[in-house]
């Protein structure tokens, strides 16, 4: 088993390498001179020389990549063009704020999606199944940022129940999760973010529960005389690993794909940082954010795979 774990971890390394190659090349697919994209327009000649040396723009492309990789591994993601702060600092602060959203969205969407999917899977074909399936399709077909706008119109503007934007009266450093005055800012963004995972999870759960129901051991349990509820508990337990795997991936998607929701709610997370970097053509921040988010996603995939193999021995043999 440890061989599988080792193999899986080793496999992640070339993936991470490939990811960094893609992020590196972002500077080069951007229109214009690559040097210009990493510097403020009013940079003095001295600054230009320093940046040139740091990036190695005069060297061949593979050399440049290695220089960039070297700097990245030491945590030097360069300087933001617009704020002139280290990119690493910007990204890590922003990622912490996005993680807050994801950490709330994950249990909420898992619980909701699982319950919905489980009910639908236990009563396949009946009206509750159709309702849940319909709701799931609804969830994945709705543009979630549009739902966010609609929620803002109803809850914030029309009925003034919840705040419309931002992270609270004291910003992210003064964010006290245990108090309603701060926590109320989480409500709408989390609901909006949860929409797609709920849809996906309920579908996955429904399929998993239905599949487990059809397996032989369920018949055996019934034959043994277990009550229907006890059988259901067994079924649910067995369908859990699949669903957990998908949930893990969804967490990764929440971290990486939150840009639209964060833009609507002006939530100062990594997605919002990314959208500002795009508007400002701040390529170092763009690179740094994307690299961090995708590496986090790779790490989450790795963890999910390893956990799955621990729970489900069949996977290890695959």
């Amino acid at each position: 088993m440890s061989f599988y774990i080792l193999r899986r971890i080793l496999y992640a390394i070339p993936i991470a390498f490939g990811v960094s190659v893609v992020c590196f090349s972002l500077v080069y697919i951007a229109p214009g001179d690559p040097l210009q994209t990493v510097m403020p327009p009013d940079a003095t000649a001295e600054t230009i020389e320093i940046v040139k040396k740091a990036y190695g723009f005069d060297k061949p492309l593979p050399m440049q990549f290695l220089i960039w990789l070297g700097r990245v591994l030491t945590g030097d993601f360069g300087m933001s063009i617009s704020t002139r702060r280290p990119v690493f600092l910007e990204v890590s602060e922003a990622l912490a704020n996005t993680s807050l959203l994801a950490l709330f969205a994950v249990p909420i969407s898992f619980f909701t999606g699982y319950v919905m999917g489980a009910i639908a899977g236990c009563f396949p074909g009946r009206w509750i199944d159709r309702l849940v399936t319909g709701a799931a399709v609804f969830g994945v077909s709705l543009p979630n940022y549009w739902l966010g706008i609609v929620l803002v119109i109803f809850f914030a503007v029309e009925y003034m129940l919840l705040p419309a934007t931002g992270m609270g009266p004291n910003g992210s450093t003064g964010f006290h999760i245990l108090e309603w005055s701060s926590a109320r800012f989480l409500v709408l963004p989390v609901i909006t973010l949860s929409m797609i995972p709920v849809g996906i999870l309920s579908r996955t759960t429904r399929a998993a529960v239905a599949e487990v129901h059809n397996q032989d051991f369920v018949q055996t349990l019934r034959a043994k005389g277990l009550s229907e509820w006890a059988v259901t508990r067994h079924v649910l337990k067995n369908s859990l690993p699949q669903v957990l795997a998908v949930m893990g991936l969804q967490f990764g998607y929440l971290l990486g794909g939150s840009i639209l929701v964060e833009t609507v709610f002006t939530w100062p997370g990594s997605g919002f940082l990314l959208s500002k970097a795009i508007i400002n053509r701040d390529v170092p921040v763009l690179q740094g954010t994307i690299l961090t988010l995708s590496l986090v996603f790779v790490a989450i995939n790795l963890v999910v795979d390893l956990l799955q193999s621990l729970i489900d021995p069949r996977i290890r043999r695959a």
Binding site: T47, S82, L273
Partner: protein
């Protein structure tokens, strides 16, 4: 990273939990905290001359810092604000040498960090933003301050309370320029070893507000400076909080839900809704231009007929309707109430004439690219306004491409000049017209060619240059007025800008906000504002 702590999520959650447990609930904002939603896309820098345009000066620059010369923002705005003594109590030009200005400095002023304000500090500050060889030189500040140091040649300390500036050419308008150059504390700079990233987190000036804390990109908090030298301008609030909100709908929502007490530039469409919710809306004409500076080096606008065509093509009444009346139509560089308005030629709406001019100039369809911003200080509602301008110009025979970007990015493009962006035909940066130099001269003078100054398009006209030089050398106000009027009329004759709108400075505030007096200026005095509970 030298000593910068990077708080991770776990640390932050632990801190939050700990603080919550120890300090108890931190409930609603304390009474007397004024929270403002700005149009800026990010917090203005605190390292001296702010970025984010004049909004940066309005909320950060003139609050944390003073300049030698300040603007008089009292007086309920019956007339345009003018300059008054700041950190300098008096100034005059040396009779023996009209390129030399003597400034007498105010005594008994202290920096926020406690060090005394002296003449050496002024000399240090000038080197901070202009002397590349000085250890404290800050390249970013150099870029910000350059536009105001066009004629600045040097400075010397005369004695502990007097400094003398020398200018490259005789410049009668020099004191106006000095009003935009803010003074930061050399004491604090030395403390942080000239590390400007560190300095930005603990700035120190002489202004009515002191820096308290900041969350980068999110909020900036000031508290009153109880030792401020101007006792008449002691802040009456307990705390001032600044939040960047570049989207108009976000600002409106924030005001309606009580997240902020005051917003800049509400969307004109939301005004009715704001009023019906009990918000106060204040507007006032002020020396502001929303126009396009043109590319005089390359492209269709090098031809005067094309420039005139663009001006004839605009239906400014329609643009005013787009803004629900919240603007003044602009037909010349200044508003008719300006003292040196004169009798400029006015380009009233005439699309047929526009098309004829374009045909004559041989530019039909006339392909042009405009650089615009998505929001920003004085930019009003840039996206819908530009779309309307584009459609009006397109109807007259132009083919306009809009290139939009963040406000600060547009300002950087503006500072870079037409050489850095030759493919752009016009740039839409709203300009302050508070003083004669900024109102007229900087648009057309060869001495202000970007990146040295604000003449983005490198407009050059020898007759105008001569006129400008005589203005700068004219120390008699009445004679200067006549010359300025001449310049204003010439600028309209040459159609050096595409004239569109004068803003009316709208802002919306909650009914709790009291004591605000709107000055006829880009800058506003926040110190007398109080919040009723």
């Amino acid at each position: 990273m030298r000593g910068i702590k990077i708080p991770g999520l776990l640390q932050r959650m632990a801190l939050g939990l700990g603080a919550a447990l120890l300090l108890g609930a931190q409930g609603a904002q304390a009474a007397g905290t004024l929270t403002i939603g700005m149009t800026a896309g990010d917090l203005p820098v605190t390292t001296g001359n702010p970025d984010q345009g004049f909004e940066g000066y309005r909320f950060v620059g003139y609050n944390l810092y003073d300049s030698l010369v300040l603007w008089d923002l009292s007086g309920a705005g019956e007339k345009a604000a003018d300059i008054k003594p700041g950190l300098a109590t008096e100034w005059h030009v040396d009779e023996a040498d009209n390129k030399r200005w003597i400034f007498t400095l105010r005594q008994g002023v202290k920096w926020h960090d406690g060090c005394p304000f002296t003449a050496d500090d002024v000399v240090w500050n000038m080197a901070y933003s202009s002397d590349e060889k000085a250890p404290q030189f800050n390249a970013a500040q150099f870029a910000q301050a350059r536009a105001y140091l066009g004629t600045y040649a040097g400075i010397e300390k005369v004695d502990d309370h007097t400094v003398a500036f020398t200018t490259k050419v005789p410049d009668a308008l020099f004191p106006y320029m000095m009003s935009y150059v803010l003074m930061i504390s050399p004491c604090r700079a030395k403390e942080v070893n000239n590390d400007w990233t560190q300095y930005a987190l603990k700035p120190s000036g002489t202004g009515p507000y002191k820096f308290d804390k900041t969350v980068p990109h999110q909020r900036l908090e000031f508290v009153p400076n109880t030792e401020y030298w101007d006792k008449a301008r002691m802040p009456k609030q307990d705390r001032l909080v600044l939040i960047p909100m570049p989207e108009a709908s976000t600002r409106t929502a924030a005001l309606l839900t009580g997240q902020v007490d005051w917003i800049e530039a509400p969307s004109p469409d939301a005004i009715d809704r704001l009023k019906s919710s009990g918000m106060q809306i204040v507007t006032r004409v002020y020396p502001h231009n929303w126009s396009y500076q043109l590319n005089f080096v390359k492209g269709p606008f090098t031809d005067k007929r094309v420039r005139q065509a663009a001006n004839y093509a605009l239906n400014r009444e329609d643009i005013k309707d787009l803004l629900n009346g919240l603007m003044l139509e602009q037909y010349a560089t200044l508003t008719p109430s300006a003292p040196y308005y004169g009798k400029p030629v006015l380009y009233k709406y005439d699309p047929a004439k526009a098309k004829a001019l374009l045909k004559e100039a041989g530019c039909l369809p006339c392909k042009v690219t405009f650089a615009i911003s998505t929001s920003g200080s004085g930019q009003m509602q840039p996206l819908p306004m530009n779309e309307l301008v584009k459609s009006q110009l397109d109807a007259a025979g132009f083919e306009v491409t809009l290139q939009s970007m963040d406000w600060n990015a547009l300002l950087q493009v503006g500072r870079g000049g037409v050489d850095a962006s030759p493919e752009i035909s016009a740039i839409n940066i709203s300009r302050a017209a508070q003083d004669p130099f900024n109102a007229l001269i900087r648009h057309v003078w060869t001495g202000a060619w970007a990146p040295k100054g604000a003449n983005w398009g490198h407009h050059g006209n020898p007759a105008m240059d001569k006129l400008i030089e005589s203005i700068l050398a004219e120390f008699d106000t009445t004679k200067r007025l006549a010359l300025l009027t001449q310049l204003h009329e010439m600028m309209s004759e040459e159609a050096v800008l595409i004239f569109v709108a004068h803003d009316l400075n709208p802002r919306a505030m909650s009914p709790k906000v009291k004591g605000f007096v709107q000055a006829q200026s880009w800058f506003q005095d926040l110190t007398p504002v109080t919040l009723s509970p």
